[in-house]
Subunit: 236 residues, 2 copies
């Protein structure tokens, strides 16, 4: 499930001896999340996690290099729940994924762990790669999915240059993820429906204006009338 797990047990190695308990893995990661809720990042100790999981402390050190790696794997599992909703229009899709991402950031486990492991990763290159593969890349795929859907719908133009397309995808990803994280964790203000709507409107009209340098296509900021999931609401 989590990408960073088979990095230690290379399947090409000789396969003799007692296998690692998969149940212990689940127990440890779940205990880690529970400890994050109760204690937060700094007060979390590996000994406490071991006690909660019902395993020996040495078992933890045999599988993970340190606290950071363990927590990355523990919170990475939560990002499996993050999916791109298919609501019929690009605008409501973005609003939906923003709200889901914000709900994930609102959980006490992720709230205290995410920024901490990113902070650690600034001085630890292997950890940064682990964060990228386990968490960041999983979010970025949602952007690529959303763009492809929108292009099929005709809501976004197809960029011919793949390098330029990758640059805009990276830009959009940093804008979405960065804005939500900053709103939720730095400004510490709620990411509610109204904020998501305003943010999406800002982003989409910006995209429409910059992507199509020529005459703009249909208005992307609002879903078409009769949206299946949510009726369009006139802003007062």
């Amino acid at each position: 499930m989590v990408a960073g797990m088979q990095s230690r047990s290379t399947p090409s190695a000789r396969a003799g001896g007692r296998p690692r308990s998969a149940a212990a893995d689940h127990a440890i990661l779940e205990a880690t999340r529970a400890a994050l809720v109760d204690l937060g990042w700094t007060k979390l100790t590996l000994g406490d996690v071991a006690t909660r999981a019902g395993v020996a402390k040495t078992t933890l050190y045999r599988r993970w290099a340190g606290k950071s790696e363990l927590v990355v794997d523990a919170v990475a599992e939560l990002f499996d729940e993050l999916e791109l909703p298919d609501s019929g229009s690009l605008a409501t899709d973005i609003e939906g994924v923003v709200l889901r991402f914000a709900a994930l950031l609102g959980r006490p486990e992720t709230k205290t762990a995410l920024m901490a492991v990113v902070a650690e990763s600034t001085t630890d290159a292997p950890l940064r790669e682990r964060v990228r593969a386990s968490i960041v890349e999983r979010q970025k795929r949602l952007v690529l999915e959303g763009r492809q859907r929108a292009q099929v719908r005709g809501e976004l133009p197809v960029e011919p240059d793949p390098a330029a397309a990758a640059r805009t995808a990276d830009l959009v990803f940093d804008v979405i993820a960065g804005a939500v994280v900053h709103r939720a964790l730095v400004s510490a203000e709620p990411v509610d429906t109204e904020w998501a709507r305003r943010f999406t409107a800002l982003l989409l009209s910006g995209l429409a204006a910059t992507a199509g340098t020529g005459p703009a296509g249909p208005d992307l900021s609002r879903p078409p009338a009769g949206s299946p999931t949510r009726p369009p609401v006139q802003p007062h």
Copy 2:
């Protein structure tokens, strides 16, 4: 200089006894930044900071509650350098402040400290208030300054409703600061001139489309011809 300092020495208290050494404050904060560069956030110890600063460890604990508070004050001083450039147009102003902010985030002290204290602040309300007052509010003022300048220039419409104006200012702030931080620290990719230009174009065309619901005003995405600080460059 730093806002959180006079919270302990209330000037209304009785003023007898030996005054606190101001030189020690500077030495401690500078030693903290040096230790952040050499050791990073986690390996930084208060005993080491005390040794570098040439003061006793107990002096540190008399002035700051813990590592987080000390680091917040240490990096908050660096944010004094952050200013809004006056380049003649809103677009180049934003590009300039984005590059300056990114340069600040590129320094090893802030890189490792900023995310760490934000992570701490998620489980520590007094610390969150300290971060807000010392660091976040200082950045947000740049947004308000930039908007006012742009309104004087006629580049942005004046929003009559103060509540709505505050909401858009908060939104723009989270988008700018969030995107730059995410690009620099999470994606770990360079915030260079080209990225700043693309991001600014995205933001400004979004602002122009959403703010003026009626007919759009002048094109905000590019400075007027003959910009005093930087000649406009055609994107290939």
